[in-house]
Subunit: 253 residues, 2 copies
């Protein structure tokens, strides 16, 4: 079982789009996949058509001990692909957890026993390095960092790497950054090429060869409640995420 | 004096780009402008070339009472344009403030006496609705919401409007949403047109006529430590932010 958090405190870089579509592509390649939405904005849950405004229990209820995993686990319409949804109540957890003993390990404790049933567990994080992201980093063994190839992309990376190191030292000795994925890549601009070259210099061997190009179909698919592999199988977006999925699988060896 | 928070908990929608460039354009139109960076990622500070890794005191020190405003206020290289920078220490403030009495009003108390010296105070917020954003919403009288014309844009708006209503009722009776600005607009895509039509339907009279089109120069200018008006005065990005600045000024009447 591989467990991977997709995190980057910079907003709007492609975290949710990557979990939603990498998850679907891994499932198409016959891996059993669980996606977990740890963002109170619940964009991943929305991406898969979950009604986040209803009174269905979600990740928040699990973290405060008012629901079991089995009650909140959703089967998506796609084979080999399950989802643990979140909703806006999760925003309260950050403040509510501040005083709890072992506050960074609540998620791991709640999920540990079911993660073994999957080949891949992918976690979508909010755009911050607060308690929810710390819980995600304590629950998984791998981190994949989506970056937008724009100027602010590299600014936050050192803080993110520091946080990962701290979590590894104090909470989760197995945690490793196993990849960086360039999202919304537009190879025609000099800026994107420069930022990409910078990432390769600072983080040699971490940047996946597969880059996710800007593709409007990827921005349209969430409004249909589907991943790209179902919304438009022939799009560039789907080709790119399938290539990424194959590259992620190739790391299994 | 007009005080405006640019906030949206959705990440990467153009908050920082809007504060940086609307601020610069208002200054060119002879308004005295103060920009305040309330995001621990300090992208606005970086956008203006502030060294956020040095030991210069910043917003965090002001909020914990270890610096006066006069010590942290920066003059930018641009006339009529000042900046209160932040840095990563500010991330600690969220957790440190949880138990403080009147925790949402710390920023207002620290800034009240200097805001009167300006015609416009623009506040850049982090991508969340936590204590830092609540402090910003308690300090200003107006909210402008940058939205990216993509599917997830409308998802978070109801939570944002609820939070603004709550702050108005409990902490800041003057708080009003005075505008919504469409950022990174690409009029060629059906998705952008649909989302824009949705915004106009849900929030009649709030959407500024001036839309900020996608323009690579806007993404390049932060790496030069300058606003668009100085980096490329003839770019579409500069024309769009100048038009927005004029529209914001026209609301003064
Ligand atoms: N490769 C791509 N091509 C075109 N649009 C994309 C691509 N990847 C993501 N998008 C769009 O860009 C926006 C930001 O992406 P997304 O929401 O996945 O980022 P995020 O990092 O999860 O954001 P947040 O920080 O708010 O959680 C969304 O509207 C999404 O549909
Ligand atoms: N109109 C535009 N055209 C092209 N690029 C843009 C435009 N507006 C913003 N950008 C770029 O898009 C990215 C996101 O913008 P920005 O950082 O301003 O958003 P934000 O809402 O402040 O993000 P965060 O949620 O992380 O604070 C940046 O790389 C920025 O340079
Ligand atoms: Mg997201
Ligand atoms: Mg920003």
């Amino acid at each position: 079982m591989r467990s991977i958090a997709l995190t980057n405190q910079k907003g709007g870089v492609g975290k949710t789009t990557s979990v939603a579509n990498l998850g679907a592509c891994l499932a198409l390649l016959e891996r059993k996949v669980l996606m977990i939405d740890v963002d109170p904005q619940a964009n991943l849950s929305i991406h898969y058509g979950v009604d986040i405004y209803g009174d269905r229990k979600s990740l928040y209820d699990l973290m405060i001990g008012e629901a079991k995993v089995e009650e909140i686990l959703c089967r998506t319409n796609f084979e080999n692909l399950d989802l643990i949804p979140s909703n806006i109540n999760l925003a309260g957890a950050e403040i509510e957890m501040v005083g709890v003993v072992g506050r960074e390990t609540i998620l791991k404790e709640a999920l540990d026993h079911i993660m073994e049933r999957y080949d891949y567990v992918l976690v979508d994080c909010p755009p911050s390095l607060g308690l929810l992201t710390l819980n995600a980093l304590t629950t998984v063994r791998e981190v994949v960092i989506p970056v937008q190839t724009e100027f602010f992309a590299l600014q936050g990376m050192s803080k993110l790497i520091d946080t990962i190191r701290l979590v590894r030292r104090r909470l989760n000795p197995d945690l490793q950054v196993t990849g960086i994925v360039a999202c919304m890549y537009d190879g025609r601009t000099r800026l994107a090429q420069e930022v990409r070259a910078n990432i390769e210099q600072y983080f040699p061997d971490k940047l996946y060869k597969s880059m996710i190009r800007k593709n409007i179909k990827l921005a349209e698919s969430p409004s249909h409640g589907k991943p790209i592999s179902s919304y438009d199988r022939n799009s560039l977006g789907c080709k790119d995420y399938m290539a990424l999925a194959r590259e992620v699988i190739a790391q299994e060896a």
